[in-house]
């Protein structure tokens, strides 16, 4: 029963929805649709695909409510469904292979020292002031798109959706150490890519 002045928790709404209370499910949809949409844009690299991912994710959540046992937070469970829906959509489009981002990994000399100058290494830091917003947005989506799925999913959840590492590990079914390793690798590639964007621009 609703207590006046207190919003029902996600888990309460999910339990009611599982028992057939459709308005409770619609409350969850309203609560999460913007976040799931944002996640879908980041995972698919394109706003045009995001509505399909959002629809599919909520439909699967609705149909799977009986299986949600409250072992994780509702949001963790929903993010897992949405992440999988984005992956399925990406696969169904069979996108042409993109160039990997490995070329942007940091380079070291034979003694293990950075090869570039400090000024060149730091270029990425100024990407948001030196590159216009539209170009940066398009380049950011394109670069995230070029990450292998293995790296894209943990990076998007951890660094773009700002979930903590333990929760990302739960969503993806990975060990936290694996999440950290993959996010790190994604950051290294994307850092180098931003550096390259600024270097080409100036």
């Amino acid at each position: 029963m609703d207590v006046p002045g207190r919003e029902a928790s996600d888990e309460e709404l999910a339990a009611r929805a599982a028992a057939g209370d459709d308005p409770a499910f619609e409350s969850l949809v309203r609560r999460y649709q913007a976040r799931v949409y944002r996640l879908a844009c980041r995972m698919t690299g394109a706003e045009r695909d995001a509505p399909d991912v959002v629809q599919e994710a909520f439909l699967q959540a609705y149909r799977g409510l009986a299986r949600f046992r409250g072992e994780s937070k509702f949001s963790t469970w929903l993010y897992r469904i949405a992440t999988n829906a984005a992956l399925m959509l990406r696969r169904s489009h069979a996108r042409s292979p993109t160039e990997p981002l490995e070329e942007y990994l940091p380079e070291f000399d034979g003694d293990g020292r950075h090869r570039s100058s400090a000024a060149d290494i730091g270029l990425a830091t100024r990407a948001d002031e030196l590159i216009d917003r539209k170009h940066l947005a398009a380049s950011a989506h394109a670069a995230i798109e070029r990450l292998p799925d293995l790296y894209r999913e943990p990076f998007v959840l951890r660094d773009l959706e700002e979930m903590d590492t333990a929760e990302v590990a739960q969503v993806l079914g990975l060990e936290p150490a694996t999440v950290r390793q993959r996010v790190h690798r994604a950051r290294l590639m994307l850092r180098g890519y931003l550096n390259h964007l600024v270097a080409v621009k100036s």
Partner: protein
């Protein structure tokens, strides 16, 4: 691990450094290396800035019409 640290091994520790999962002695060796290495200082700054820049560049707002069409879709497909 040897007492001294080079840029390459330092870079590999950055994620654990910022997550707070590095042992204290390794952490202080990394601190000492970075304090004396301008290239690593620049690298750390850009490593930290990268998620934030990409986060802000990829913020998307839910299109106004999507909420209504989403609820309609869900009602039709239950």
């Amino acid at each position: 691990m040897s007492e001294s640290m080079v840029c390459r091994s330092g870079v590999e520790l950055l994620m654990d450094y910022f997550e707070g999962t590095l042992p204290a002695d390794v952490r202080s060796r990394l601190d000492r290396h970075v304090a004396g290495c301008p290239r690593c200082q620049a690298f750390v700054a850009s490593y930290r800035a990268t998620p934030q820049i990409l986060r802000e560049a990829t913020v998307a707002s839910l299109p106004g019409e999507l909420e209504a069409s989403l609820l309609r879709f869900l009602r039709d497909n239950r």
